[in-house]
């Protein structure tokens, strides 16, 4: 067990190192350099700026400095916004994204369990067909379309209600968060519903359900205590990919709903080619996602002792 954990963590660290190196290589292979822009610059100013940002040193030395800074958790200074440290940007905007993401995961999980339970309970009857139809639809429609349609729907709802029931965009209160989180969690909710349905139907055939029936337990008790609880376990395997989906999906949702999260900031940095912000945010997001996957793996092994944790 301990060997497995150590191996998993080591592989996670290797991946993070790879992410950081790939980011460095990628950013250094971009044509031009971070100081290239449309403004004319005197050679002396240019040289001094290069020195200030350490861009005049050999690439390998820059790589060493970069890795050292990353290890100390220092992501440097933004090129586009003067005197703004990337760490401050992350510290300021990531909590917003995280709040939205956690809310989306809560929505997705609750929705997935409820809808999945309904489809399995009414298999081959209309609730099953209706919900599975919606599931296939929400897997096929891109997230940004849902975000846009949800916004359009909010406009008409507010107009019909005569007052602002839920705000169309922005951030601040729980009312701002509901719709974006719902939209963000929708795709994951669809996947979880499908998984939940399959898992519940498989468990319905299990011996211990027959035993429970033979013991004379009530149908409700069998369903909720024996079937539903065990069927929830496989949902954990999807939690890792779900966190990745919701993190990157957040870029789009934050853009559409004008939410001041790290995702929107990241997209802006990409469009402005703000190198340090792109590098810092990519490494931050990359490490975050890799760690989450490792944690979910370990959590799964801990929750479900039937799973033999083997090395590799």
């Amino acid at each position: 067990m301990i060997r497995y954990i150590v191996q998993r963590l080591l592989f996670g660290l290797l991946t993070i190192w790879f992410v950081a190196t790939a980011t460095f290589v990628a950013m250094h292979s971009v044509p031009g350099d971070p100081l290239t822009n449309d403004k004319a610059m005197a050679p002396e100013i240019r040289a001094s700026l290069m020195r200030q940002y350490g861009l005049d040193k050999p690439v390998l030395q820059q790589y060493g400095i970069y890795l050292g800074n990353m290890l100390r958790g220092d992501f440097g200074i933004s090129y586009a916004e003067e005197n703004r440290r990337v760490n401050d940007i992350i510290r300021e905007h990531f909590p917003v994204s995280a709040t939205l993401g956690v809310l989306a995961i809560v929505f997705a999980t609750l929705g997935g369990i409820v809808w999945g339970a309904l489809t399995a309970r009414y298999q081959h009857r209309w609730p099953d067909f209706a919900i599975m139809g919606l599931v296939i639809l929400s897997i096929s429609v891109p997230g940004f379309v849902f975000a846009a349609l949800a916004q359009l729907a909010l406009v008409s709802i507010n107009r019909w209600y005569g007052a602002e029931l839920l705000p169309i965009a922005g951030w601040g209160t729980l009312r701002h968060m509901l719709m974006p989180a719902l939209v963000l969690g929708l795709g994951t909710m669809a996947f979880l519903t499908r998984l939940m349905r399959a898992s519940l139907l498989e468990i319905a055939q299990a011996d211990y359900i027959t035993t429970a029936k033979a013991k004379g337990l009530s149908a409700a008790r069998i369903f909720f205590v024996h079937q539903l609880r065990n069927a929830c376990l496989p949902l954990l395997t999807l939690l890792g990919p779900a966190i990745a989906t919701i993190t990157t999906g957040g870029f789009v949702v934050e853009l559409v709903f004008s939410i001041p999260g790290l995702g929107r900031y990241f997209v802006q940095a990409i469009q402005q080619l703000d190198y340090t912000v792109i590098m810092g945010t990519t490494v931050f997001y990359g490490s975050f996602l890799v760690l989450m996957v490792v944690l979910v793996d370990l959590l799964y092994g801990w929750v479900d002792p039937r799973i033999k944790l083997h090395a590799g």
Binding site: F11, G12, L14, T15, F18, V19, A22, T23, V25, A26, M27, S29, V30, P31, I136, L137, I139, S140, V141, P142, G143, F144, V145, A148, Q151, L152, V155, F191, R194, L195, L238, P241, A244, T247, T248, F251, V252, L255, V256, V267, I270, Q271, L273, I278, T282, Y285, G286, L289, V290, V293
Partner: protein
């Protein structure tokens, strides 16, 4: 039923072997059986027809619908979908001389509309005694109150009670309000006029776009009308035909969506087959590499690679996207095919082939890859929607295909900005993305059942 009840007269023995064979049902090969099962699966078969339809839309569409997807028409911005062709009046260049006599006869404060086209709306109003200044406003709906008159267009002195509005006119109804103010800036009177301008095209523009011969003289064409092509899908924010753009966008999106999976699945399959064939240390090493690529956050790295590849001038951004997709997506296919080959490797007929002297390449190309083909095909149908989603996602955050190259994702990105006013600009590309993804997903489900392939997709 006792045996004796059956009348032996009913049976005649087969005379020849050929006759025996003709009586037994035809044997069906693997691929025919897959096809038969697909035909029987309504959902999958409809999806297949939709996929063929989409391919035709992309390939044959631009041949039949010959409008130029890049041609802009400022007079026809964000038109709603309509099958009706629009009429445009040709305007040779000329100056407007307002006619004070025409408004002098008006008894009260009123607006007289001169020529009203999308090139310019000529407004003249009667001079109000005591007025020191007139202010002109334009609104796209009936003003609800005096504080909501819309866009302030002009402030005209008392001596010039006229104005020609040439500010980004579209073919829609406008409400103009003229208010007259005296020296103390107090409101004396206001008057409104509601006008829908006629679509106009300047003479030179008509020449440029080939509606009028280049040798024609402006005077001959004064006041003539042209029939401009209909836009069944409407036009976008630059007045470009949406249907033509959807067709060319389908070419881009499907090109990326189909070609990238083809390349990475073939590469992944070869990689996986080679790893499994060699086994041992090489296999271990090769598979650790796939582990690493799979562990990378996919979309984050797509973004990174797209940024890193950069863009030369005139680049459409399609190739970098293809390359990035291939670089990040091959390991899944490699794993699937490796597992299949590991299973195959122990089968007796492979040993037989080896004994007969088959080399590595023969085994790989003749036995391993064909046997892994069903898995590869199913993986392909599920990889297409994923690739199309990725294209749409990247274009949507603004680092996908470069304008003016149309792609469904890029069109959605443009359409979302004017969602509230002109929803059709988002709905068409979004609907096509969704339809394609849906069709490939359902077809993939059907294919997987028909081929009886087990994949662990979720």
């Amino acid at each position: 039923m006792p045996v004796s009840d059956i009348d032996p007269q009913l049976f005649t023995p087969c005379a020849t072997v050929a006759e025996q064979q003709s009586l037994s049902s035809e044997s069906i090969g693997y691929w025919s059986r897959v096809w038969l099962q697909l035909r029987r699966n309504k959902q999958a078969f409809t999806s297949l027809l939709i996929i063929i339809g989409l391919l035709l839309f992309a390939l044959a569409g631009p041949v039949l619908w010959r409008l130029n997807p890049a041609e802009q028409n400022i007079g026809l911005i964000s038109q709603s979908p309509s099958w009706r062709a629009s009429e445009a009046i040709i305007l040779p260049p000329e100056r407007w001389y307002p006619d004070p006599a025409a408004v002098a006869m008006l008894e009260e404060f009123a607006i007289r509309v001169g020529k009203a086209t999308t090139a310019g709306i000529q407004l003249q109003w009667s001079a109000l005694p005591g007025a020191a200044e007139y202010q002109l406003f334009r609104h796209q709906r009936q003003p609800a109150s005096n504080s909501d008159l819309g866009l302030p267009l002009a402030e005209m002195p008392a001596t010039t009670p006229w104005f020609e509005d040439r500010l980004q006119l579209e073919q829609r109804r406008y409400v103009y309000t003229v208010i007259a103010l005296d020296k103390q800036q107090t409101l004396l009177a206001s008057v409104q006029a509601s006008i829908k301008p006629q679509l106009a095209i300047s003479f030179f523009d008509a020449q440029l776009r080939g509606f009028v011969p280049i040798t024609a003289r402006p005077q001959q064409w004064r006041g003539q009308t042209l029939t401009l092509p209909a836009h069944p899908f409407g036009t976008d924010y630059l007045g470009r035909d949406m249907l033509a753009r959807m067709m060319y966008g389908a070419r881009t999106s499907l090109f990326i969506g189909v070609l990238a999976p083809v390349v990475f699945i073939i590469f992944g399959a070869l990689y996986g087959a080679i790893a499994a064939y060699h086994g041992g240390f090489i296999d271990n090493l090769m598979m650790r590499a796939t582990d690493l690529v799979i562990a990378l956050p996919f979309l984050l790295f797509m973004i990174l690679l797209k940024v890193a590849f950069g863009l030369g001038p005139g680049d459409s951004g399609v190739l970098p996207m293809l390359l990035a997709l291939v670089l990040l997506s091959w390991p899944a296919a490699a794993r699937l095919v490796r597992a299949e080959v590991l299973k195959l490797r122990c089968l007796p007929y492979i040993d037989a082939a080896r004994l007969m002297g088959a080399g590595a390449s023969h085994l790989l190309l003749r036995h391993f890859v064909p046997n892994a083909l069903p898995i590869m095909l199913v993986a392909f149908t599920f990889a297409v929607p994923a690739a199309i989603f990725t294209e749409a996602f990247l274009s949507f955050i603004g680092i996908g295909v470069v304008p003016p190259t149309p792609s469904w994702g890029a069109m959605s990105f443009d359409g979302i900005k004017s969602l509230l006013a002109h929803p059709h600009e988002l709905l068409f590309p979004a609907a096509f993305i969704s339809l394609t993804v849906l069709a490939f997903n359902l077809f993939g489900d059907g294919l997987r059942d028909a081929m009886d392939v087990k994949t662990n997709d979720v």
